[in-house]
């Protein structure tokens, strides 16, 4: 049962299994083991980032494509839901329409970018996607009468999901629309993650890994590598758009900063490298650690900055706004010393004594 659910790709390390179990249980029970809005928000963000990073891992970790356009697809999904709900009386019909339109747009854009750019070398592809994504972000913030511009758009959700809609109480947490939304996000995230796990462990996924290892050889074996790369690109893009849709549903807000910004892209890169490229589980561990750090490290840094208040440079370096500095350093060190990420380290330890 579990083997089928995880597509035969078990964690293969005791430490990893335990951490994964902890994360999943923590996320599944988040509304009941925590109180207040902030922890629930953190948990929902973790779910969404797991999907987003897993879909990016399909590209960078399994196929070896470096794309900087992932946030664009993330944003398209979010804006699809946001604009669908954007009316005085929000209902599911327009939202589904918006989501469908977003998914179609995602697919078409991913296909076009793939057709044009995947023929060229890796560095070229990275540059082209960066250019396309940044233009898209500018476009979204400029078409302000439609997208709300830099400020983005807040919108209402149907009454079923609104916090005012209370069903009852369970274990000290009032079951309202927000908790229901959380579970929608959680189960959608689980579903997409398992689907991605299924894809990378299918024969199709094996071909992607062959392309990553040696594209020339994969082609020589008779696989049309361009088709496979474009397909991987499209699957990753659609998953990212779905993650964006979940984010919009959760935040009830869409804006360029939370979905299209370059910061989101660097976050994804950091998570995928720290968690472990080419291991879907890396996205779970990485996203959990990263989002927790993002939410709680800042207050820790503020305390540390207060402790060294007299020292000029150190104080500025420990300022909460500078946390990206430390993550950047961590990122570089991770690429040098743990190229396989946390999951890779776990698995390595698990395998070595057995030899």
């Amino acid at each position: 049962m579990l083997n089928t659910l995880l597509s035969g790709d078990l964690p293969r390390s005791r430490a990893l299994s335990v951490s994964l179990l902890l994360v999943v249980l923590g996320l599944a029970l988040a509304p009941f083991i925590t109180t207040g809005a902030r922890p629930l928000n953190t948990a929902a963000t973790i779910c969404i980032y797991i999907v987003l990073v897993a879909s990016y891992d399909l590209l960078i970790g399994y196929t070896g494509i470096v794309s900087f356009a992932h946030t664009m697809f993330f944003g398209i999904g979010a804006y699809g839901v946001g604009l669908g709900f954007d009316s005085p009386t929000p209902s599911w019909g327009p939202m589904m329409l918006g989501l469908a339109a977003a998914l179609v747009l995602t697919l078409v854009l991913a296909l076009i970018i793939g057709l044009f750019a995947l023929r060229v070398r890796a560095i070229f592809y990275a540059m082209i996607t960066l250019a396309v994504a940044s233009s898209f972000a500018v476009l979204a913030s400029q078409m302000s009468e439609w997208t709300g511009g830099e400020d983005g758009k807040t919108f209402d959700v149907p009454d079923l999901l609104s916090p005012a809609n209370e069903f009852g109480e369970f274990m000290g947490r009032i079951l309202d629309g927000k908790v229901l939304t959380y579970y929608i996000v959680f189960f959608c995230a689980v579903l997409i993650f398992l689907a991605l796990l299924r894809i990378v462990n299918s024969p199709f996924g094996r071909v992607l890994q062959a392309i990553r290892e040696n594209e020339f050889r994969a082609e020589a074996l008779g696989y049309r590598t361009v088709v496979y790369r474009i397909a991987a690109n499209c699957i990753g893009a659609v998953s990212a758009a779905l993650a964006g849709a979940l984010l919009a549903l959760w935040l009830r807000y869409v804006g360029p900063r939370t979905t299209l910004g370059f910061e989101v892209m660097t976050d994804i890169l950091l998570i995928v490298v720290i968690g472990g490229m080419g291991t879907m589980y890396g996205s779970v561990i990485g996203a959990t650690l990263f989002i927790l750090a993002n939410n709680y490290l800042k207050s820790l840094m503020a305390k540390a900055a207060g402790a060294v208040a007299g020292v000029p440079i150190l104080e500025a370096a420990l300022h909460p706004d500078r946390w990206l500095l430390w993550l950047g350093i961590l990122f570089i060190l991770a690429i040098y010393f743990f190229p396989s990420g946390i999951v890779g380290k776990f698995r390595q330890k698990a395998v070595l004594p057995g030899i």
Binding site: V66, A126, I313
Partner: protein, 237 residues
């Protein structure tokens, strides 16, 4: 720094440029040695590591100089415009054009007419062969990286003065345009870059004049059109 004579101003600017280029050359050298060298030959890691390096350096700028925008007024003699017939041409833009042409000529000559340029081009084509011929290609490439960084420093001075403000993210902002220019022009060609930059600027200008909304995506449209025609850029057949 308020002097009125053109000579004094240009002298101060030249000094600033020389300093900036020296500093960025050293920084580039260090960056290459410390950050990029361990991952040479691995494209994926190289992209990721330079990205990480950029984040760290940008944040360090915030740490040392603060996160605010810094105004950077032009030297007095370079403000204002010259009237040529009915057209007003800003003095500073003339200077920028002169500097650009100078860099272009020097780079073209060095890469195409000197032994150094020959070695660089050969090293890109087949590094092992050049090493087998007895040249220390690693040293050469560090020097190339440092020289590239110095030129980027020069570009930074010119761009900062053009914008008249300094922010830590100004590098990241022009990055995309730099990429597009190189892709349009084709890697490894100074002439291609020149044509690419001309095309970019002119398209953006005229698209902005004719259809302002279109100007935002004009770069991308131009890039896609050129890649359709020549997948490796203008300068390569």
């Amino acid at each position: 720094m308020e002097a009125d004579s053109l000579g004094m101003n240009l002298g101060a600017l030249g000094l600033a440029i020389a300093m900036a280029m020296a500093v960025t050359a050293v920084l580039g050298w260090v960056f290459e040695r410390v950050i990029i060298m361990p991952v040479y030959g691995q494209h994926l890691k190289q992209i990721l590591i330079t990205m990480g390096g950029m984040i760290v350096v940008e944040q360090l700028i915030h740490v040392v100089w603060g996160a605010d925008h810094k105004p950077m007024p032009l030297p007095t003699a370079l403000r204002g415009a010259i009237l040529l017939g009915d057209a007003a041409i800003e003095k500073y833009r003339l200077l920028a054009v002169a500097v650009g042409v100078l860099v272009f000529i020097v780079l073209t000559l060095v890469l195409n007419r000197t032994k150094l340029g020959l070695l660089i081009r050969a090293g890109v084509e087949n590094g092992e062969m050049v090493e087998a011929l007895g040249y220390r290609i690693r040293r050469l490439f560090v020097a190339v990286f440092a020289a590239g960084s110095a030129l980027a420093g020069l570009g930074g001075v010119m761009w900062g003065l053009y914008k008249e403000t300094l922010t830590a993210s100004m590098g990241g902002e022009v990055m995309v345009m730099v990429f597009i220019t190189i892709i349009i022009g084709g890697l490894g060609s100074v002439g291609g870059c020149f044509i690419g930059a001309l095309l970019m600027a002119l398209t953006a200008n005229y698209a902005g004049f004719l259809a302002p909304k279109l100007a935002l995506v004009s770069h991308i449209v131009l890039m896609i059109a050129i890649l359709l025609w020549r997948p490796a850029g203008l300068s390569r057949k």
